[in-house]
């Protein structure tokens, strides 16, 4: 037997040999109540601190604490994906299912693979490396493997960055200015253990370091690399990058969004209500995210009510919405998967999935591509 075969049996037997003590439910509930009280107090204190900051600075930062999503049972949701009307093909690069990529000028001959679209830019990731799609051409940016997670694009699509190389001393941060087509960074990097969370509008790359549980910032304009400091106490992993900073999960508080100063200080902190799968629209005026198992779109400030996307009740999205333009998002949707919390992506054959377009003012959806478009891709295509 191989080690792979021994491990399940060993772990199962070890677990079953130990009998669990009887649960002390009152203690658990009381502990939970204490935690809830502490969390509520922290939220109040963070909001109060935020209000103090608002009073002290000339621009407004308001906590996002609305709860204005219409209940699911009050929405008029389609049951089956086949019930949706047919719409136009995507306005961004896509796979039509004939081993070409369309939507970026003349058709490009290539098997369907991973497409990352932000703003006006689409990266195409295949076995040859990281490419940019433009004017009917694939332009290879770099042929090395990205180290642990996909390359990142800034919200407007101008900047791209990722880490390549595995092992100590071999990691390198790569950065590109896609407006000029120039490579602007090839920096020796402390570790491949982590990933580029995103790039803000100022061209600052945020790298979540798993080994040190810290955030590194690299400025693609100046070439400086800094540790981000001033993070909230009990801060965990970062969640997403904003126009001028990022958001981080704070134990007992929730998601705290902040700006990052030129010297790497995490400032202007305030609690926000969006976490999973947060994607900003190309002009950052809107944000899509997951709330209570449903995708919604709202204003980053939380001022306006959020709009739930009216996706079919039978089936599940396989990944988060991708902004197609200022008012529409695309959602890759699998009718054969059970609805589930959307934190997990689903690796299902792309060929059986639908590509849906939802407009974000009413939330209504239509079909952009019916099954068959995904060639042989067995993974999430639109990221």
């Amino acid at each position: 037997m191989s080690l792979d075969q021994h491990l399940p049996e060993t772990l199962r037997r070890t677990a079953e040999e130990h009998s669990a003590p009887f649960p002390d439910l009152p203690s658990i509930v009381e502990g939970g109540r204490r935690r809830k009280r502490r969390r509520d107090l922290r939220r109040v204190s963070v909001v109060a601190a935020c209000i103090a900051v608002v009073a002290a600075v000339p621009f407004v930062v308001r906590p996002f604490v609305t709860d204005s999503t219409a209940p699911t049972d009050q929405l008029d949701l389609p049951r089956r994906v086949e019930d949706l009307p047919a719409g136009a093909v995507p306005a961004i690069p896509y796979c039509p299912g004939d081993r070409t990529i369309r939507g970026a000028g003349d058709p490009i001959e290539a098997a369907c693979d991973i497409l990352i679209h932000r703003g006006s830019t689409t990266l195409f990731l295949d076995r040859h490396g990281v490419n940019v799609l433009k004017d009917g051409q694939l332009t290879l940016l770099d042929s090395r493997d990205w180290s642990s997670w996909l390359p990142a694009l800034s919200h407007d699509g101008r900047w791209a960055a990722w880490v390549t190389g595995a092992g100590p001393g071999k990691a390198v941060l790569l950065g590109f200015d896609l407006k000029t087509g120039e490579q602007v960074a090839e920096e020796p990097w402390p570790t491949p253990e982590g990933f580029v969370q995103g790039i803000d509008d100022l061209g600052r790359v945020y790298f979540q370091d798993y080994a040190r549980e810290d955030m590194l910032m690299h400025d693609l304009r100046t070439g400086d690399t800094l540790d981000v400091t001033g993070m909230p106490e009990h801060a965990g992993r970062s969640k997403y990058v904003t126009n001028d900073g990022f958001a981080v999960y704070v134990d007992g508080v929730g998601v705290v969004r902040g700006s990052v100063t030129a010297d790497g200080q995490f400032t202007q902190q305030h609690v926000v209500d969006y976490e999973w799968g947060t994607q900003f629209s190309p002009d950052r005026s809107l944000v899509s995210y997951e709330r209570d198992g449903r995708f919604v779109v709202g204003a980053p400030s939380g001022d306006a009510p959020v709009v739930p996307l009216k996706l079919p009740t039978e089936g599940s999205p396989v990944w988060f919405p991708v902004w197609e333009g200022p008012e529409t998002v695309l959602v890759q949707f699998d009718p054969f998967s059970a609805p589930r919390p959307l934190g997990n992506g689903l690796d299902v054959p792309a060929r059986r999935t639908w590509l849906l377009r939802c407009e974000v003012t009413e939330g209504s959806c239509e079909v952009a591509l019916a099954p068959g478009w995904g060639d042989r891709a067995a993974w999430i295509v639109h990221r």
């Binding site: 021994h6 772990l11 130990h18 002390d24 203690s27 658990i28 965990g236 997990n344």
Partner: protein, 169 residues
Amino acid sequence: MRDLQEFEQYVMARWTAFHRLALLLTASESASQDLVQVTLEKAYVAWPKISTMASPDAYVRRIMVNALVSTHRLARNRHEIASADPPERGAPSRDEEVLDHELLWPLVCALPTRQRAVIVLRYYEDLSEREIADALGCAVGTVKSTAHDAMTALRRGITAVRVPEGSDR
């Protein structure tokens, strides 16, 4: 009140499973009880959200793994060494099957926290790399490299006990 009843019913129904998972993750009887307690206290706070989920176990598992990793990180930041209970048993005699579970479990116990978590989630909970990445809050690539490191360490440990001290090999 109904929420509380549902929460208590859920805890009772899943108690043994969570306790076993915590035991494997912590490699310690006492630490596992603490981990389950903290996990379920946090689950209580988030219960209004968890109770509507199609897969509440996955969310609670994520709380547990996060609590495990944060506890480990806090201990490391205080320059303490997180220690598991010592394995109940050392290396087997030469006559025993090298890969029996009484040998393998101590090797799993000796893995760093994150590596052990990946091994337990993969081989006990039977999660995919994607699901493990979600539970750990990391990228799939990181899960792959962590699993690779863990398996390498386990194989190295197995090789070490297969070649006892004083052997010519």
